[in-house]
């Protein structure tokens, strides 16, 4: 028999969205029992790596309407405008709550919270704590969560399956990494907040834990993954490692230069107009790729490829140390470059998934009692391209909303029998037991992961050719077959990281499958999805969300309307 624990709300993921949801649940109904299940200790969650800031209207020269319009335009009109409206209204309140909880926001001389400029935003509305905003937000949330006695943490527990019965999700099966045992963690509602899946691609800012787990869990239960073709390439990652150099470098006045030392965003037409370096990420990443393609990239000896320069020298040491000290630490440690004296080598790097588990504005999914928030969800805030600094705020706004709605939901739910859930958990325990150290057909995790990375880089990079996307679909299907032949070497139960890697790989392949299919179906260029075969946006045929459903014989594609209402689509030019 599997171990069983019972709670009211089960939250999967301990990053910004999961922790915010946990606090929201506890505040909505003190005394409620919350399970916070995470495959890492919460302070390791990838929120920690976010650098530049979190957006919310704060200044007197700014308005909610301006933030909403910037977000709509940034999304290339694929964001749902009701969601965006709610987001901009809640954003200042959420960041203020975080201030009350102790987040060390950087300050103006008068003691008010300081804001900085960010790409695609018309005015300074990005709150920041130097350039370690995700780190400070995560630690503030985690430390604050400790005062809520209702939250019971299941650290280093890897969720392998959602327990769904009678159309309602009422728990998860979680592999306790310490013991190697599968447990049933039951609840009346489940909130997924597991982040994105950047590790599907080889060159990414994302940490090792970003394997699309929540997306795959929901996908396998029959919930659509929405807008998966839209993955964001951040313009400035360090070549080789992919380590993120924040957009705040440009918000603070940094320049992008080509091999001729030319500020190409001001001298050539890349659609960003006078915004130059403060254009949206999709456009700037394409501009860099085009500079490289035109022979104006800087060449690195060896395997890393060509890059551009991010020049901060004119900002001076004092400003760099006051505003973006982490950038200096990262550049020195990982690129051997001191930005005070030399430009930083950078190139576009996979950063964020706009798509995710299809949810409504409450974070609710098609399955009763199952919610999703943060990068793992697609509430349709970001559409085809996310604006920098909207995602940290998104975790708070929609983490809180999903938490509050989960509490409302369980008040009206009568629950159900445990038997079917426990049988599913038993089956899952059997599957995990069989996988551990399985003999298989000789396929290896490392090889399969490299194949997947390679397929996805060729098929779903900054630019996507129809032929390469079609090929990616076929190859991912083959890869699924190869996964069945996986051979594992580690039969031990205690902290077996090999079986975790195997389970993560399965999740990533599922995510990859949905990305490849959605990308193939969108025969236009919109936001982050740039197809040389169809170089313009086609609102007549493609002003819709993409949905990909799991199927045992292969994924199924569908679509869904975009909610407009305030702004009609227009040409996206800055």
């Amino acid at each position: 028999m599997v171990d069983v624990t019972r709670h009211d709300v089960v939250i999967v993921g301990g990053g910004a969205a999961g922790l915010r949801a946990a606090i929201a649940v506890s505040e909505a109904r003190p005394g409620i029992s919350i399970a916070l299940v995470s495959k890492v200790y919460p302070m390791r969650s990838h929120t920690v790596s976010a650098e530049g800031g979190a957006a919310a209207v704060a200044r007197s020269d700014d308005t909610l309407e301006m933030h909403a319009y910037d977000t709509v335009k940034g999304s290339d009109f694929l964001g749902d405008q009701d969601v965006i409206q709610y987001f901009v209204e809640e954003a200042p309140k959420e960041l203020t709550r975080l201030e009350h909880w102790g987040c060390p926001w950087s300050r103006n001389d008068d003691g008010t919270v300081a804001t900085r400029a960010f790409g695609g935003m018309t005015t300074k509305r990005t709150w920041f704590a130097t350039d370690k905003v995700g780190f400070h937000m995560l630690h503030t949330l985690f430390q604050t969560s400790m005062k809520y006695g209702d939250i019971e943490r299941y650290d280093e527990h890897f969720v392998t399956k959602l327990l769904v019965d009678g159309g309602a999700c009422r728990g998860v099966a979680a592999l306790d990494m310490r013991t190697g045992q599968v447990k049933a963690v039951l609840g009346k509602a489940v909130i997924l907040a597991t982040g994105g899946g950047g590790k599907v691609w080889p060159f990414t800012t994302n940490g090792n834990i970003k394997t699309g787990d929540g997306m795959a869990l929901a996908y396998r239960e029959g919930i659509a993954l929405k807008d998966m073709e839209f993955v964001q390439y951040h313009p400035t990652g360090l070549p080789g490692t992919g380590i993120l150099i924040t957009e705040a470098t440009r918000g603070e006045g940094g320049y992008l230069l080509n091999s001729e030392g030319e500020r190409f965003l001001t001298t050539r037409d890349y659609g960003v107009g006078t915004k130059a370096e403060l254009g949206p990420r999709d456009m700037i990443s394409r501009a860099i790729m085009q500079e490289i393609a035109a022979g104006r990239g800087i060449k690195i000896p060896g395997k890393i490829g060509e890059y551009a320069h991010l020049d901060l020298r004119h900002l001076g040491e004092e400003k760099i140390m006051a505003r973006i000290p982490f950038v200096r630490e990262l550049s020195r440690t990982y690129a051997n470059v001191d930005p005070v004296h030399e430009p930083i080598p950078i190139r576009p790097v996979l950063h964020y998934m706009m798509g995710g588990v299809d949810t409504d504005i409450d974070g609710a999914t098609e399955i009763d009692g199952l919610y999703a928030a943060g990068e793992t969800a697609c509430v349709s805030l970001n559409g085809a391209n996310r604006l920098g600094s909207n995602s940290l705020t998104e975790c708070l706004v929609f983490g809180a909303r999903a938490g509050a709605h989960a509490v409302q939901y369980i008040a009206g739910s009568s629950g159900g029998e445990e038997g079917p859930l426990l049988r599913q958990a038993e089956d899952e325990a059997g599957r995990v037991e069989a996988l551990r150290g399985q003999q298989g057909g000789g396929e290896k995790i490392t090889k399969l992961r490299e194949s997947m990375n390679d397929i996805m880089e060729r098929g779903t990079g900054v630019y996507r050719e129809q032929a390469s996307m079609a090929k990616a679909n076929t190859e991912i299907a083959e890869l699924k077959g190869r996964y069945e032949q996986l051979s594992l070497d580690d039969p031990s139960k205690v902290f077996n990281t090999e079986i975790i890697a195997a389970l993560e790989l399965r999740n990533m392949i599922d995510v990859a499958e949905s990305v490849a299919l959605a990308a193939l179906h969108r025969k236009e260029s919109r936001g982050a999805h740039a197809c040389p075969d169809f170089p313009t946006r086609n609102d007549g045929e493609y002003l819709h969300h993409s949905l990909v459903y799991y199927g045992p014989t292969g994924p199924r594609f569908d679509k869904k309307d975009v909610t407009l209402g305030v702004w009609e689509p227009e040409e996206r030019k800055y």
């Binding site: 306790d176 310490r178 013991t179 205690v494």
Partner: protein, 147 residues
């Protein structure tokens, strides 16, 4: 006193974990490697303070017990063993002060009272200034020049 034998309960969770663990090792370089000898010597300098304080107490006691007791105490201070101790204590405490002054600036907060903390160089200069002033005044006083 610290020792290099592992404490099996270092960083032990309040509830025992679900699987058997290997006991913690003490820091790998403790006590003889890295910076640990300096730290241990720094702590051991406390002995000088203790001995000197007891000798001083003994002197005050002698002062209150008549001229003979005071003379005997003074004679004791001329004993070779005491002279050796005195030199050792002087060297030890000087080294103690040097280490303390090296570490001290980093213990200072961003603001000291209403003032921003001065640069480390100023703090260190201030500490040495104070130290040598006290030393000079003490030497002059004990040498009789200030009586």
């Amino acid at each position: 006193m610290t020792h290099a034998v592992p404490r099996v309960d270092a960083m032990k969770p309040s509830k025992p974990g679900p699987t058997r663990t290997a006991p913690p090792r003490p820091p790998d370089k403790f006590p003889g490697g890295g910076r640990y000898p300096a730290y241990l010597a720094f702590g051991a300098c406390g002995a000088f303070l203790m001995i000197s304080a007891s000798l001083l107490t003994r002197g005050i006691w002698a002062l209150g017990n008549g001229e003979a007791a005071w003379d005997a105490y003074r004679a004791g201070l001329g004993h070779p063993a005491y002279l050796v101790y005195h030199v050792a204590a002087f060297l030890g405490l000087t080294w103690f002060v040097l280490r303390l002054f090296r570490l001290f600036p980093a213990t200072q907060p961003y603001r000291i009272g209403p003032l921003k903390r001065p640069p480390d160089a100023v703090l260190v200069a201030g500490l040495y200034g104070l130290f040598f002033t006290v030393l000079a005044v003490g030497t002059l006083f004990l040498g009789g020049a200030m009586l």
